[in-house]
């Protein structure tokens, strides 16, 4: 297993940037021994806990400023749960999450709320993550209202600017989500995440519900925004090709554990872990000639996979 820390160009470039975190030499986000167990309950009327599902099992990694860490794995590997535990949307069973040098797992509600201004999330399903009864303007402006920022007029102007930034026509500010396609809705979700000018955005499968041509637009947008606003991403996805193009470093998760982490190129071209090898070999590539050799490769690594019943 290759634990590589901050070898990417982007991460080095930001070292000089002055911020609380980098002044103390600590990366923006440090996750250590994060564990989340869900109880398995049995019984009628009186539940008793019979077992635990180790959804996230002793996970450690860090994200530097301006860096993207890709988190890949199959369904049930614990990717999203990891993301939720970082944002404190789920309470971790044990372990530590330090963001800008501050321990989040111990923060009280009010302190946590102000901390959340710095960390946002973009969800997978643009059809379910926008309230159908709110206008686009209200959705994008809600974080500003919640945190009581600016006057009404000021907020409206900010929302218009945000919509423009994500390539969405600001004239549609009074329309409702159902009037827009999946790609446009995802832009709205991204604008909402940007509203509080965060440092870290957790992108939880942001393009898996979209068609290829729309997916490319959103991925390009996320890259542009990262440059413009100096964002750090935790980019969670199951599509290995998508993650590759977005990430400086990549962590591969399986059964709640990170089985391999390192610079994107290293993990993909010289995977060390057997599961990573099997996962990479399973991806169908758009090239019929190469598919033949890949099929042989795939069969070689089959033993690393357990197809559950």
């Amino acid at each position: 297993m290759s634990e590589q820390i901050g070898t990417s160009n982007a991460a080095e470039a930001v070292q000089t940037e002055s911020s609380t975190a980098s002044r103390t030499g600590e990366p923006l986000l440090v996750v250590q021994n994060l564990t989340k167990h869900f109880p398995v309950k049995k019984g009628f009327l009186i539940d008793r806990t019979v077992d635990h599902v180790k959804a996230v099992d002793d996970v450690s990694f860090e994200i530097r400023e301006g860096e993207t860490l890709g988190l890949v794995g199959e369904s049930g590997s614990g990717k999203s749960t990891t993301g939720y535990c970082i944002l404190q949307l789920l309470k971790a069973t044990s372990g530590s999450v330090r963001f800008q040098g501050e321990e989040l797992t111990k923060l009280r509600r009010e302190a946590l709320r102000s901390m959340r201004r710095e960390m946002q999330i973009v969800f997978q399903d643009p059809y379910a993550s926008l309230n159908p009864r709110m206008t686009i303007g209200d959705i994008v402006g809600e974080p500003l209202t919640v945190h009581g920022l600016g006057t009404r007029q000021r907020r409206r102007r900010t929302v218009e600017e945000l919509l423009e930034v994500v390539g969405f026509n600001p004239e549609f500010i009074n329309r409702y989500p159902h009037e827009f396609s999946g790609g446009q809705r995802q832009r709205i979700g991204i604008a909402r995440a940007l509203a509080l000018n965060p440092r870290l955005i957790i992108c939880d499968e942001p393009v898996s519900a979209l068609d290829v041509s729309i997916q490319a637009q959103i991925l390009n947008l996320l890259k542009d925004l990262q440059q413009e606003f100096f964002l750090s991403y935790l980019f969670i996805a199951h599509d290995l090709a998508v993650v590759k193009g977005m990430s400086d470093r990549i962590a591969v998760m399986n059964l709640g554990k990170i089985v391999e982490i390192g610079p994107a190129d290293d993990v993909y071209t010289r995977p060390k872990n057997e599961y990573t090898k099997a996962l990479l070999a399973a991806v169908p590539v758009p090239d019929p000639r190469r598919m033949r050799e890949r099929k042989a490769e795939r069969r070689k690594h089959k033993h690393a996979l357990v197809e559950s019943l």
Binding site: S213, A241, G245, A278, L279, A281, A282, V283, D287, R289
Partner: protein
């Protein structure tokens, strides 16, 4: 005689806003033991095409024109009863979502034998025996002991294997798979694609695989048809389509795909501007023209291009296919 010949198939849906031309003039031929991959984005008409072939289009949809001949037999004019005899027997089907296409209240065994007993004169015992063989054929371990389980005891990949067992239970000559691996993880997907290939060879089946995933068709199909806005815009052998894509849409689609290799970290993906046309009043012109970077001052916005054979076996519906653009560039320089 080809296994399946589809000619100028048109399926429209009546809506309050007007008639949606979901499938608008689709033609292709599938030879025996071959696999045709149909790729396209959402709303391009892939699924409606196969539903039309099977006679499963429901109101307000209607096959308004065209012909579908399976083993020489015309299906569009066939009575429902005859179609029912055909479906599940000589034509098998697999659908996208293995989580919802099995009935949760019936055992796996019941669901497999249901199809068998509908089409074959088998006793309960014989059908059960055959069901176990089928589960073994799709590599479900300890098949005999799993037969009386309910679907919730099976994982997504295993349920899709059960769906495949049902689809091949009567030894069909044509297997239609509509997004068979879309809901599955990549490693499970790989197993299902391997299984489909194995079964196709063993049963001498022709296959149609519908997918939005370019990687899946590259792996599984001999020939590929690319659909856009209800029409086939390009069709060729898998090798030729990926080596020398001709239609600007196919080129753009391939360019928009992130790949596993190459230093793409700071590179931008090619995007296709705009959106597909409204299929209620599709333009009487090239349907891709508004998004096409080669559509110029010429006829693109006035004349609808025909699907033409640009070289043997490679069909394209565009006034500006890649190889002609190269030739034009040579002439003008």
């Amino acid at each position: 005689m080809a296994l399946l010949e589809v000619d100028d198939l048109r399926t429209y849906f009546k809506t309050r806003a007007g008639e949606v031309h979901a499938v608008d003039g689709v033609s292709f031929t599938l030879e025996e033991r071959k696999t045709l991959g149909i790729v396209g984005e959402s709303g391009s008409g892939k699924s409606v095409t196969v539903l039309s072939i099977m006679g499963l289009v429901q109101s307000p949809g209607r096959v308004v024109a065209g012909s579908v001949r399976f083993q020489g037999q015309e299906l569009t004019t066939m009575k429902d009863r005859q179609l029912e005899d055909l479906r599940g027997d000589r034509i098998g089907m697999i659908f996208q979502d293995p989580m919802t296409s099995l009935n949760p209240t019936l055992t796996i065994g019941t669901q497999i034998t249901e199809t068998l007993r509908r089409h074959r004169d088998l006793s309960r015992q014989q059908a059960r025996k055959r069901a176990i063989e089928l589960l073994e054929e799709v590599h479900i371990p300890k098949a005999a002991s799993r037969l009386d389980d309910y679907p919730h005891r099976y994982s997504g990949g295993m349920r899709q294997r059960v769906m495949i067992a049902i689809a091949i239970s009567c030894d069909p000559k044509l297997l239609i798979a509509d997004e068979p691996t879309t809901a599955l993880d990549v490693t499970v997907q790989a197993g299902i694609l391997d299984l489909l290939e194995e079964l196709r060879e063993e049963h001498d089946m022709g296959m149609i695989i519908i997918t939005h995933n370019m990687g899946v068709v590259a792996e599984a199909a001999d020939d590929i048809a690319v659909m856009y806005a209800g029409q086939i815009v390009e069709q060729a052998t898998a090798l030729d389509l990926f080596d020398r894509p001709e239609h600007p849409y196919t080129e753009a689609l391939l360019g928009a795909l992130p790949t596993l290799e190459g230093d793409a970290r700071h590179a931008r993906l090619t995007t296709i501007p705009g959106r597909p046309p409204d299929l209620i009043a599709p333009p009487e012109a090239c349907r891709f023209a508004p998004r096409c970077k080669y559509a110029g001052m010429d006829d693109c916005n006035v004349v609808a291009p025909e699907l033409r054979e640009i070289r043997p076996g490679h069909w394209v519906r565009s006034a500006h296919p890649a190889s002609e653009r190269v030739a034009e560039a040579l002439v003008t320089s």
